[in-house]
């Protein structure tokens, strides 16, 4: 066991972890931040995406020890200070970009990373970027639409509301 300390959603968080403890596990079990989900064991599904020092990371692929000293942002820290949904979250609600909600935290965190680098991605760029996030419910239609809306693009012409 060794102690790790990181800044999670703006607050300092410490805990004792084994060398094999994954960042996803540390967030869920030590910090009780259960919004970060684990949907696979091969780093494919993307339900566990968080930001480490501003970069999107699959937290099941990183050891907690590797995040020692880092700044980590999770889905729990995404809403506005008054608790209202942020622009991305609101777009997902407005455009029915989620159903069961399990992949959603990863989708929101990946979207935030995408829009930081590419504030107005095309449909093709969005679909390409989401290669590492699997959703089984939506057929991706409303997720792509939500992301386009979150980036300020007109989605009125997209088939089927």
């Amino acid at each position: 066991m060794s102690q790790v300390t990181m800044t999670v959603n703006g607050k300092t968080a410490s805990g004792d972890v084994e060398g094999r403890t994954l960042l996803s596990q540390f967030l869920r079990e030590n910090l009780k931040l259960t919004g970060t989900h684990v949907g696979c064991d091969t780093s494919q599904c993307g339900a566990c995406v968080v930001h480490v020092d501003g970069k999107a990371v699959k937290s099941c692929t990183m050891l907690a020890a590797e995040a020692d000293g880092a700044t980590v942002d999770t889905i729990e820290g995404q809403a506005e200070a008054d608790g209202s949904l942020n622009t991305i979250q609101q777009a997902f609600q407005d455009h029915h970009g989620l159903q069961c909600g399990f992949c959603t935290p990863g989708m929101v965190m990946s979207t935030a990373a995408l829009l930081k680098d590419n504030p107005k991605p095309t449909e093709a760029e969005i679909r390409d970027y989401l290669e590492g996030n699997i959703c089984r419910c939506t057929g991706y239609h409303n997720i792509v639409k939500s992301i386009m809306a979150a980036s300020g693009q007109d989605v009125g012409s997209i088939a089927a509301e």
Binding site: T36, C40, C137, G139
Partner: protein
């Protein structure tokens, strides 16, 4: 102007806020004080005799609480099967035992042999590696035809063969069907595979057992689509726990798609072990475990023949299917290839003579059960592929051939035992043709060809049968459960409402759509109404959510309960208004005396019900809470027409979906946004089946696709935006809302049009390809073009 509230409006989903902020409460998010963790040691061979299990070294490992093997479950019930099929000779299906932990033999890769309960999941896993299992490997039975051959190794030694049942439907008409084929002007034949699928809800399964010695009460938290079904099956048939001492909670559930209907060994184990260890026991499946322990779907091999007369009318249809059951019978497995499949073979067409034969087969593979659509996608794929092939053989337009044979008069009794109440198949086809710009196809194909690509357009129709019922009929067909649902409407003194429902929402948005119905009926704001679901201690006994039944069955129960509330509230209002109850009208939350300006508000009446000072206590009880159980008179029959346009790269065989259009008739629609979303998701899974997904075993029964590295899940860049249209609406005639199910339609309706489009593309390139099995992967398509 679309409605902004009530039935037909699309309010934003209220459940989204918690899911978007990480505040969801999924089963793995629950931790019970003092819990231990379980890890299952699973078989790594497909078939073997267990000669011995030595747990002594493992038991001495750090943190180990207790180790269980099959011996601990001797004398305890096995996992029950909920449907008994009777074969064509009137005999019951062969029904093997399904122990919680393997006893004597293992029968598929992933079959649980032992379970380690330890202080941490890592310690449980480490200790499981130290268990020594002496397994004598036996030949594995994988291929269904081989499984039925003379002298084949038996999956279950105590059964007479690997044949679960040989079902003929309708057996009495077989001679007439065969005779029609003798006189047919044209017969189209197709052999095809509906490949094995893994449902893959994004949330892996989880079970937490908890037990209180103080009260002798058990609690199971589980990722289930139907907590009461689990309570009944596990309590009554496996562990012998009185139902009132067993609480089953299915909180937020991250998708189901059928595979979370069934009662699984891990649920029974955790419940059992919590009492045996006297502490809570938690199991969280890894995705790798899910691939080898969640019930799989589909896995049919079929020969289908369609007979047409000289005018291209369908005169008879004949099918012969092998359906894989896997190693054991999962909860509803036997019903899927029979009553959920054979009954669909008429499709949208007035084919007068149909015979369906299904042989269900045991193999050394994971059990197969319902996956989104369950039997209906298999039926639709066969039928819509053979109709398309017939059109090509006859040189007629595939849409015109379909239209010519459409059922046009309703109600329509099919030759396969069901009666469609309503439908308008030309209407949905018209809507589809409005979406797809068929006239522009030739130009689009020319453009693709200019770029060295082949382009194809495929269409298909579908009908679905959802909300399986009525209970007395399905009982005759072998169901060992009722198929009603239930709702309790509990009104508070201040007029807000909790509706406790048997349906379970795991992505369907019931918390948003169900209140729309009650709000519309009473005329109050939806924010005054909440839905309670997923906890057997809070909700009435309902059958849960599967088979696109929630709004049609449970929604109807909710309407009936709300009607009882309104009837009682009118009596209270009549008393307050000193009028006769027959004269009371309810509109916009106001009770008024017809033809007068006298009225009382909803809140006045609810307050009077709970503070009954001025109240007719001699006539009616105080309080305002009503329950209704609703057992439908029939299935509902949504229908539709789908089209897919693909481009095929002849260099690589890669198929790209260029466009996808869906026109569905769901009858009346409560929340159009949610319904569209259900169709989108179904199409995504259907495209996944058509082009990507395949669960593969090798000849030794090893699972070759055991993770997302090998099993190709559809990703965002595999699919386009979908065009959907739900304007064609023929309301169901036998439920109070006039609704039909919508959850499975997309998955049922989409695979055939994709494959029809691929075949169209390949034929346009001069390739002699009449069929391609799913998934139409690049290697398969390339091989078909270069054979």
């Amino acid at each position: 102007m679309p409605k902004d509230h009530g039935i037909g409006a699309s309010p934003k989903r209220r459940e989204d806020v918690r899911f978007l902020t990480g505040e969801g409460n999924y089963t793995d998010d629950i931790n019970v004080n003092g819990q231990a963790y379980v890890h299952f040691l699973r078989s790594d061979v497909a078939h073997g005799k267990i000669n011995g299990i030595d747990t002594s070294a493992a038991a001495a490992m750090p943190g180990v609480v207790k180790i269980f093997t099959g011996a601990d479950f001797e004398g305890i019930g096995g996992l029950p099967c909920g449907w008994q099929v009777t074969d064509k000779h009137g005999e019951p299906m062969q029904e093997p035992a399904h122990p919680v932990l393997a006893q004597g033999k293992v029968r598929h890769v992933g079959d649980p042999i032992a379970a380690v309960v330890a202080e941490s999941v890592e310690q449980a896993r480490d200790a499981a590696e130290a268990i020594e299992v002496d397994i004598e490997e036996l030949p594995a039975v994988v291929d269904m035809k081989a499984a039925l051959s003379e002298g084949a190794t038996k999956v279950h030694d105590d059964l007479t063969s690997n044949l679960c049942y040989d079902w003929g439907f309708v057996e009495e008409v077989k001679p007439d069907v065969d005779a029609a084929f003798e006189t047919a002007a044209h017969v189209t034949t197709l052999e095809l595979v509906n490949q094995r699928m893994v449902a893959n809800p994004m949330e892996p399964r989880v079970a937490i057992g908890d037990y209180s010695r103080g009260t002798d009460e058990h609690t199971l938290y589980t990722t289930s689509q139907n907590p009461h079904v689990i309570r009944l099956l596990m309590g009554a048939f496996v562990l012998g726990i009185p139902e009132h001492k067993l609480r089953v909670v299915a909180p937020d559930v991250g998708g189901g798609f059928g595979t979370k209907i069934f009662h699984y060994a891990e649920e029974a184990f955790c419940t059992f072990a919590a009492k045996a260890c006297n502490r809570p026991v938690k199991w969280t499946s890894s995705r790798s475990e899910a691939f080898m322990s969640d019930a799989h779907g589909r896995d049919h091999v079929t020969k289908i023949e369609l007979a047409l007369d000289a005018d291209n009318n369908f005169i008879a249809l004949r099918t012969d299917t092998l359906a894989n059951m896997g190693a054991y019978l999962s909860t509803f497995a036997p019903s899927v290839p029979t009553w959920l499949h054979g009954t669909l073979m008429a499709g949208n067409y007035k084919t007068p003579l149909i015979h369906v034969n299904v042989r269900a087969v045991f193999t050394n593979t994971v059990p197969v059960d319902a996956y989104r659509g369950a039997g209906r996608p298999e039926a639709t794929f066969q039928l819509e592929r053979v109709v398309d092939k017939a059109a090509r053989e006859l040189g007629v337009d595939p849409i015109a051939l379909r239209r010519q044979n459409f059922i046009t008069e309703f109600p329509y009794a099919t030759p396969v035992a069901v009666e469609y109440d309503t439908g308008d198949y030309h209407g949905t086809m018209d809507a589809l043709e409005g979406l797809i710009d068929r006239d522009g196809f030739a130009a689009r194909r020319a453009e693709s060809e200019k770029n060295g690509k082949l382009r194809g357009l495929g269409v298909n129709c579908y009908i679905e049968a959802c909300g399986i019922a009525p209970s007395n009929l399905v009982g005759q067909l072998g169901a060992r459960a009722g198929l009603y649902d239930a709702a309790t409407v509990r009104v508070t003194a201040t007029g807000s409402i909790s509706v406790m429902v048997g349906a379970h929402s795991h992505g369907q948005g019931h918390e948003t759509s169900f209140p729309q119905v009650v709000a519309e009926m009473i005329g109050i704001d939806e924010s005054q109404i909440d839905i309670v679901h997923g906890d057997s201690s809070k909700i009435p006994f309902g059958m849960g959510t599967y088979g696109s039944r929630s709004i049609a069955v449970c929604g109807s129960a909710m309407v009936r309960a709300t009607e009882k509330i309104i009837a009682k509230a009118k009596k209270i209002a009549a008393h307050l208004l000193e009028a006769s109850d027959a004269d009371i009208e309810l509109k916009d939350g106001q009770f008024s005396v017809a033809g007068t300006d006298k009225s009382v508000a909803w809140g006045d009446v609810t307050l009077a019900a709970y503070v009954p000072h001025n109240y007719p206590l001699e006539d009616i009880e105080p309080g305002l809470e009503e329950t209704a159980f609703y057992d439908p008179a029939n299935f509902t029959y949504p229908s539709g027409a789908y089209a897919c346009e693909v481009e095929v790269d002849p260099e690589t065989g890669k198929v790209t979906i260029e466009s996808f259009a869906a026109a569905d008739d769901f009858g009346n629609i409560i929340n159009p946004m949610i319904v569209d979303g259900q169709v989108h998701g179904g199409i995504g899974q259907g495209i996944g089946q058509a082009l990507l997904e395949n669960c593969v075993y090798d000849e030794n029964g090893q699972l070759m696709t055991g993770s997302y590295m090998d099993y190709a899940m559809p990703r965002a860049d595999d699919v386009p935006f979908y065009a959907v249209d739900h304007s064609s609406q023929t309301p169901c005639t036998h439920n109070p809302l006039g609704v039909k199910g919508c959850g499975e339609a997309g998955a049922i309706g989409s695979p055939p049009s994709v494959i029809n489009a691929v075949v169209d593309a390949l034929q346009s390139g001069g390739h002699d390809v009449t069929h391609i099995d799913m998934p139409a992967s690049p290697s398969r398509v390339w091989a078909a073009m270069n054979k």
